[in-house]
């Protein structure tokens, strides 16, 4: 510093004296800028004996002396310093800049005090000069921060102009200095988001409470950070940009190219979705088949996601932006894994091997089923079956298997070709390949599904017949109108026939029950395998990989809160704290940013499942297409 800056600063003071003298309410449209009157309720915003907290950015700790510019939050008695204005400056221009920033960002930015960074020679005149500035930019309270070069200890003073009403409190407040990293606070988002969107235009940011107000203030003051001390403008500021901004050419190029690419891809995707919504696909057999195949479900889901990602509208809030980024990364990973799978399949003619192995496997399964039925037709596990019913059911199912084997052998020349084309679809993504696998399993075990349905229907009929005839046995009947069991007097011949039928059904029950049990177990096995595949698909679909990567590499972006650390402390000097960002835990990141999937969660609880199994009602483990949930 020295004579030059003092001279120009003094020259700057001249015109300011001639200019309009600002009054505090004019320059600072905060909510409450004057202290509350005597006898105010304890719930009022200003508590005179509360410790004053000054939030100071770490990047300004080495800046030259100047004015402190920021926002005063009276409710928490805290001053958030955003930047330092260096000498020389003209007060009018500083006020103009602040007014501009206030209008652009709706944050009550004002001059909060002075900052003095002393070099080797102590400068007494500077001290007096700085105090004189308090007269030009009056602010309640006026902060004076001072630091010796090379010393770890600071001195802070906060003075009030107006005499407080209670004589016990002095004109000076206790000050606590809290350092914060401005760039990290600017970029981070708090979870849960504490600041509500402003209701009226021109409303100062009053809705954030507590420390969220600090984050809010810094995030909204982008307009203040545009000019720097190295710029040619009239006012020279020091803030986080003064440390040097890193930028990547690739990122800038990607941003520039994103516009046209999005437009092109949106057109392509709209073409594809128009083609798939074509009338032809809505005809009955096709629509039924499409709704049953999980591959179509998965493809539709991916199409929706891609439409959302490449839409030309910008994301309205950070949550939407994260969602888009997560979807994009998920699709890219999916396609990458699919290509890996494709290259592995095509490497050593694995598709040919697979096709060759498929028919013998299907044959083997059918043979095993035949053995099982032969075993059931004999004396399974030592139980004695009703011979006639046994033979009927056994022969019925054996004929089914015979038909199925014939069908498989009919298809065998085309298997390799089909598999090759299906393998190509893996380039659409691993999830598509897995869905196709699940559908192939469903098709190959279709006969097991049929057997399960036959067995379940027979068993269900039997159980209903038995329960109704049991009621007859006891002289009761089911009243359909009143939906309850009523007593009823039967005739003798009704009772006689009822008892006969009841006896027949009871003695045939073990046979039917055994067939039902065996086929239900087989069906449940197939359902479990399909369920595992769907679970894997769901995992790839809904995992928010971009958010997890952000949490790993830039943990300050996703903030759960803050944490404080006490820096060097000496008796007599004010308390120095460092405020750091406390990142969100991984489980909360996954929970907050999970993508909605088309995954099927079983609607039934275990109890209702057991009940359905006992009464022979059919179980549909997958959600049908009609009821789609998010």
């Amino acid at each position: 510093m020295g004579l030059v800056s003092r001279g120009t600063a003094a020259a700057g003071l001249g015109p300011a004296r001639a200019a309009v003298r600002p009054s505090p309410p004019d320059a600072v449209p905060n909510l409450i800028s004057t202290p509350p009157p005597e006898g105010a309720a304890p719930g009022s915003s200003r508590i005179p004996s509360m410790v004053l907290k000054a939030f100071f950015p770490t990047c300004c700790a080495s800046a030259d002396s100047g004015l402190l510019v920021g926002r005063w939050v009276p409710e928490q008695s805290s001053a958030v310093v955003l930047a330092v204005v260096h000498f020389p400056f003209i007060p009018i221009q500083v006020k103009e800049l602040l007014a501009q920033v206030q209008q652009a960002s709706r944050v009550g930015v004002a001059v909060l005090g002075t900052w003095c960074h002393r070099r080797q020679e102590p400068e007494e005149s500077l001290g007096h000069f700085l105090e004189g500035l308090g007269a030009i930019f009056s602010h309640e309270p006026w902060l004076q921060l001072c630091r010796e070069r090379g010393s770890k200890f600071w001195s802070c003073k906060a003075t009030r102009q107006q005499v407080p009403t209670c004589p016990a409190t002095s004109g000076e407040d206790q000050v606590m200095l809290v350092f914060y990293d401005q760039r990290k606070v600017l970029l981070s988002q708090l979870h849960p988001p504490a600041a509500l969107p402003d209701r009226q235009a021109g409303d100062a940011t009053a809705s954030a409470v507590g420390l969220a107000a600090v984050f809010d203030t810094v995030a909204r003051s982008e307009a203040l950070f545009r000019s720097d001390r190295f710029d040619e403008g009239p006012v020279r500021l020091s803030h986080w940009q003064s440390e040097g901004v890193e930028a990547s050419i690739l990122v800038e190029l990607a941003k520039w190219a994103a516009g046209p690419i999005c437009l092109l891809l949106t057109c392509l995707l709209s073409l594809v979705s128009a083609a798939s919504a074509c009338r032809m696909f809505k005809l009955w057999p096709l629509s039924f088949v499409w709704s049953k195949l999980s591959t179509c479900e998965q493809l539709r889901h991916r199409l929706e996601q891609l439409t959302l990602v490449f839409s030309t509208q910008k994301a309205k809030n950070p949550t939407q932006l994260m969602r888009k980024a997560n979807m994009l990364v998920s699709v890219l990973l999916d396609v990458a894994l699919g290509l890996v799978l494709l290259s592995w399949l095509h490497r050593k003619d694995r598709i040919g091997q697979l096709a060759d192995a498929l028919i013998p496997v299907a044959d083997h399964v059918a043979e095993e089923l035949q053995h099982l039925l032969q075993w059931l037709m004999g004396a399974p596990a030592g139980l004695k079956m009703n011979r006639a019913l046994d033979q009927v059911l056994g022969r019925f199912f054996l004929y089914h298997i015979h038909l199925w084997i014939g069908y498989i052998h009919l298809m065998s020349p085309f298997i390799e070709c089909i598999l090759w084309h299906v393998g190509l679809s893996a380039c659409l993504g691993l999830t598509v390949a897995l869905s196709i696998l699940s559908d192939i399993i469903a098709l190959l075990t279709f006969h097991i599904y049929c057997f399960y349905v036959y067995g379940a229907r027979l068993y269900c009929l039997k159980i209903y017949g038995l329960s109704s005839l049991w009621r007859l046995f006891r002289g009761k009947k089911w009243n359909v109108l009143r939906q309850r069991v009523d007593s009823c007097s039967y005739d003798l011949d009704q009772l006689f026939i009822g008892t006969l039928l009841f006896t027949i059904l009871v003695f045939l029950l073990p046979t039917t029950a055994l067939y039902y049990l065996v086929f239900t177990l087989l069906r449940l096995l197939v359902v479990t395998v399909q369920g595992l595949i769907h679970l894997l698909v769901d995992l790839v679909n809904s995992l928010p990989l971009y958010s997890l990567g952000l949490r790993l590499c830039r943990p300050y972006r996703l903030a759960a809160g803050v944490k404080f650390r006490v820096l060097e402390h000496e008796a007599g000097s004010p308390l120095l704290l460092l405020m750091q960002i406390n990142p969100l835990s991984y489980s909360r990141v996954v929970h907050t940013y999970r993508l909605p999937s088309c995954g099927c969660h079983p609607k039934h609880s275990w109890g209702s499942l057991c009940r359905k199994l006992f009464f022979g009602e059919l179980i549909y483990p997958w959600r049908q297409r009609g009821d789609k949930q998010d």
């Binding site: 304890p42 907290k53 308390l575």
Partner: protein
């Protein structure tokens, strides 16, 4: 100003309480738990390895032994990183808030900060823990909907579990600081 005292926890283990008074409005309490004992570590390792050796003699597969070594190492690392808490620190700053930090044996630190606006009071509560009745220090949080209600109770020093004498020391210090915000018109 630093101060160290020795207390005991509910099981009789030794705890060390370190008190730092940074300023009239900022205090820190640091409770150090007893370290992991060599005896229990050796006992667990020996049991696992003996079991693995028994399995090895049954099935003659040397993979069992390597798997046992692997499991022991991973288990120890997991225990040190996720379970064993070395130190619990309470930092109370007037008009800012209360911060609790747990440092694990592997160096990991997990911090929670509660703003002063949400804190209703700091109290000592009684609880039934297994077959004992113990005292614990907890923070009562204000209910945003109901002005006199309590929305949550946050217990402190959960893994150190000090006894009442230690809790009273911490309680008195916290109440001195909380008194500042409850009586704004009187100055101390």
């Amino acid at each position: 100003m630093e101060d160290e005292q020795s207390f005991s926890d509910i099981c009789g283990g030794r705890l060390a309480l370190q008190r730092r008074y940074y300023s009239p409005s900022c205090r820190e309490f640091c409770l150090s738990c007893p370290r992991i004992s060599l005896r229990s570590l050796t006992a667990v390792t020996c049991t696992v390895w003996l079991a693995a050796y028994g399995l090895f003699t049954l099935c003659e597969n040397s993979m069992v032994l390597s798997a046992a070594i692997f499991i022991t190492l991973l288990g120890l690392l997991g225990y040190l990183h996720f379970v064993k808490i070395d130190q619990e620190t309470l930092l109370i700053i007037d008009s800012l808030g209360i911060q609790m930090t747990s440092s694990y044996a592997s160096g990991k630190e997990s911090t929670t900060f509660i703003e002063m606006g949400k804190v209703k009071d700091v109290v000592i509560n009684e609880a039934i823990y297994m077959q004992k009745v113990i005292y614990y220090l907890c923070i009562l949080l204000k209910d945003p909907v109901e002005p006199h209600g309590i929305s949550q109770v946050v217990p402190l020093f959960q893994s150190a579990k000090p006894r009442l004498d230690c809790l009273i020391e911490v309680y008195k210090s916290c109440q001195e600081i909380l008194a500042h915000q409850k009586a704004p018109s009187t100055s101390l």
